[in-house]
């Protein structure tokens, strides 16, 4: 754009503004500002968000905030963002992001770099793994909003009845399953439920098994399976859980809800799932109410201690927002301690601010909060890379093939390395 057209544009814009200001009869130079906030209605019946948005409006006179719903499924949300952000005008300012998208969107240049807007210690109260997931190229691109971590749920009644303490290793878990099932003689009682369907959840479950065995999926340099033998052993172990009957055959079709329901109906001893399941187990009418506790995911006997995979939602600001300062303020408002407490109370989503896990009101509502804090703190993020979706889409069928026995683990790992090498190579 030449200087001349720039001036002309400015002149036109000024004229338009003047006209509108005249119409409204307002002396203010800034017209009413509308911020658009895109989020998924994950917050259930007592959605605390509308009142949080009204609160922000009250603090910022002349600003209107419109909350707009995203599609329900995570895949569709991603697709929605890609289509709208790749185009010229996104039509929204603040957006809720699955934490695995943040580096991708940052690399694509769609997110506002929040680093200059942040105070030096502003992120200290958050979980380090959540901040790590929002960091790309040493800069911060989103604010952590809610937290998720993989947990091991167990039946306190069954373990107590047989004099067992929650297992610290997978080997111990397998032993306990054998023991309890042999003594209970209940054919409908399954051992250990987890998510083995070919989807993102499978990647999370396999990652946790890899970590427990001292293996990684991908290095920071993009090399897949730097410890191939340990990775193969982890996959073989998972397959073994199914072939030996410790986990039911349908584990290979199980997602979070399928496994959560079976455990919630009282049909299993152990379950790997996210914190949301606890509220459902403790709900009135639940078959396992008062009989469930959670602990850290097991490690391996000769490996590392277990750690759950972390996840959750972040709030990012569109780089094309016309009101970046206000948009950052809105993201900050929604991730503030007050807002996160309201969300934790109203919608039972776990906060990303650590202090809230010891908040009196929240602990009264959910006595397991301090415990959840320790486990979230020990959790590890999935690989933080702009290519995460490509990595995930590539490994899903390979992990599934190893799990159902179509491929031996070594073959699945080798095939993954070849494919990832090809696709990542084309991106560099």
């Amino acid at each position: 754009m030449s200087l001349g057209t720039l001036r002309a544009t400015r002149l036109v814009r000024a004229l338009v503004l003047l006209t509108f200001a005249g119409c409204a009869g307002s002396p203010s130079e800034r017209g009413p500002v509308t911020l658009v906030f895109k989020y998924a209605r994950i917050l259930g019946n007592a959605d605390p968000l509308p009142s949080l948005l009204r609160e922000f409006e009250a603090q910022h006179p002349g600003v209107r905030v419109k909350g707009e719903a995203l599609p329900w499924a995570s895949d569709d949300q991603h697709q929605f963002y890609v289509i709208n952000l790749e185009g010229r005008s996104p039509g929204f300012d603040v957006m809720m992001l699955d934490c695995i998208w943040v580096p991708e969107f940052a690399r694509a240049g769609w997110l506002l770099d929040l680093t200059p807007h942040l105070q030096p210690a502003e992120l200290a109260p958050f979980f380090p793994s959540a901040v790590a997931a929002a960091t790309y190229d040493h800069r911060i691109w989103a604010l952590p909003w809610n937290m998720n971590v993989g947990l091991l749920y167990y039946r306190t009644d069954l373990l107590a009845k047989h004099g067992l303490a929650p297992p610290e290793t997978y080997e111990a878990l397998v032993e306990q399953v054998r023991l309890i099932r042999a003594r209970e003689r209940d054919p409908a009682l399954d051992g250990y439920l987890w998510q083995g369907k070919q989807y993102e959840g499978l990647v999370v479950n396999v990652l946790e098994a890899l970590w427990a065995n001292g293996a990684r999926l991908i290095t920071d340099d993009g090399d897949a399976f730097p410890e191939p033998a340990r990775a193969a052993d982890a996959l073989r172990f998972l397959r073994g859980l199914i072939t030996t009957g410790v986990s039911p055959a349908w584990t290979t079709a199980a997602d979070e809800e399928l496994s959560r329901r079976a455990f919630g109906d009282g049909h299993a001893i152990f379950l790997r799932n996210w914190p949301y399941a606890r509220d459902l187990f403790e709900a009135e009418g639940s078959a396992v109410r008062g009989k469930v506790a959670f602990t850290t995911l097991p490690g391996r006997a000769r490996g590392e201690p277990g750690a759950g995979s972390t996840g959750g939602a972040h709030l990012g600001v569109s780089r094309r927002s016309r009101h970046p300062a206000l948009a950052v303020a809105l993201a900050r408002h929604l991730t503030s301690e007050r807002a996160q407490r309201a969300i934790a109370l109203g919608a039972a989503l776990s906060p990303t601010r650590q202090a809230l896990y010891h908040d009196e009101e929240l602990v009264r509502r959910n006595p397991a909060m301090p415990r959840l804090h320790a486990l979230s703190l020990a959790g590890r993020p999935r690989p933080v890379t702009p290519y995460y979706l490509l990595v995930s889409a590539t490994v899903q069928p390979e992990f599934s093939a190893a799990l159902v026995g179509v491929k031996v683990p070594e073959r699945a790992i080798e095939d993954t390395r070849v494919r990832l090498g090809h696709f990542l190579g084309a991106l560099r």
Binding site: H78, W250, T252, D415
Partner: protein, 278 residues
């Protein structure tokens, strides 16, 4: 000529332009969000020839197409004959058929998700101790998905055939009866040959749909386990919309397009030669 112009422009804008654009994309390495955009020649297609996932998807698509269309034809004709033989309640039977057919694929898939539920599903409860891992066993997942699709699309074949059956003049059957033809002879000598042409049309439509099958497997299995239910369109969707590899995904789409066009062309040739009596 001038009068054709609007049609030509509309067709060009709506079909030729996008098709040419996809073809052009398929010759590139293009991942817009990472700023990758360079000419690749036939690289994407060369990779497809050695891509095990592509061949697995092609195989799955072929098996799914043949199995689902064959089952739909057999069950569809049987259903049409059964309704035609019925004296009462034809309207009720037809509306049940239409109900299944009118159901959106995603809704049908959700329905079958519950039917196939490993613990609480109607099918496994009925099977009792012989319960199967419908969607998690690589040996039967494709069959499970195919059955769900057949349930939803068989009515299409049935309704087309039923319409044709109504149009067969009764005196043909009377003549056959006078000539002493039995029920089997009537079926194979009169009814089925007369159904031939409409069946071929139904098979054409169903084959083209089956080659592009997407929603039922996407919802039920996401392509798993071990990619045993991943069709070419599901693979193309993952490349285009999930990993945003526009060039590679377009190459996959071009393959599906060529496949569909080839099949359509072959069917149309058969239809035109009139080798099937109408």
């Amino acid at each position: 000529m001038l009068l054709l112009a609007p049609t030509a422009v509309a067709l060009g804008a709506l079909t030729v332009y996008p098709a040419a654009w996809v073809l052009w994309l398929s010759l590139q390495h293009r991942v817009p969000i990472f700023g990758v955009s360079r000419f690749a020649g036939l690289d994407n297609f060369a990779f497809l020839t050695i891509d095990a996932r592509f061949w697995s998807a092609a195989h799955t698509t072929a098996v799914f197409t043949v199995a689902s269309v064959a089952l739909e034809v057999v069950l569809g004709v049987a259903a049409a004959l059964a309704i035609n033989a019925q004296r009462r309640g034809r309207a009720v039977a037809l509306s049940f058929l239409l109900l299944a057919w009118a159901m959106p694929a995603v809704v049908a898939a959700k329905l079958f998700e519950w039917l196939y539920h490993p613990v609480a599903g109607l099918i496994n409860v009925a099977l009792g101790r012989h319960a199967l891992n419908w969607l998690g066993d690589p040996g039967i997942a494709l069959a499970a998905v195919t059955l769900a699709d057949v349930w939803r699309t068989m009515p299409f074949v049935a309704i087309l055939c039923y319409a044709r059956l109504l149009a067969i003049p009764a005196d043909l059957y009377e003549a056959a009866q006078v000539d002493g033809a039995g029920r089997l002879a009537t079926l194979t000598r009169i009814t089925l040959p007369l159904l031939g042409r409409i069946l071929l049309l139904a098979v054409l439509f169903r084959t083209l749909d089956a080659l592009r099958a997407f929603d039922i497997m996407f919802v039920l299995t996401g392509g798993g386990p071990a990619n045993t239910t991943e069709t070419l369109t599901v693979y193309a969707y993952r490349a285009l919309f999930q990993t945003l590899q526009l060039g590679f995904g377009s190459a996959l789409s071009v393959v599906v397009f060529v496949l569909v066009m080839g099949v359509a062309w072959a069917y149309l040739r058969i239809l035109r030669t009139g080798s099937v009596a109408a």
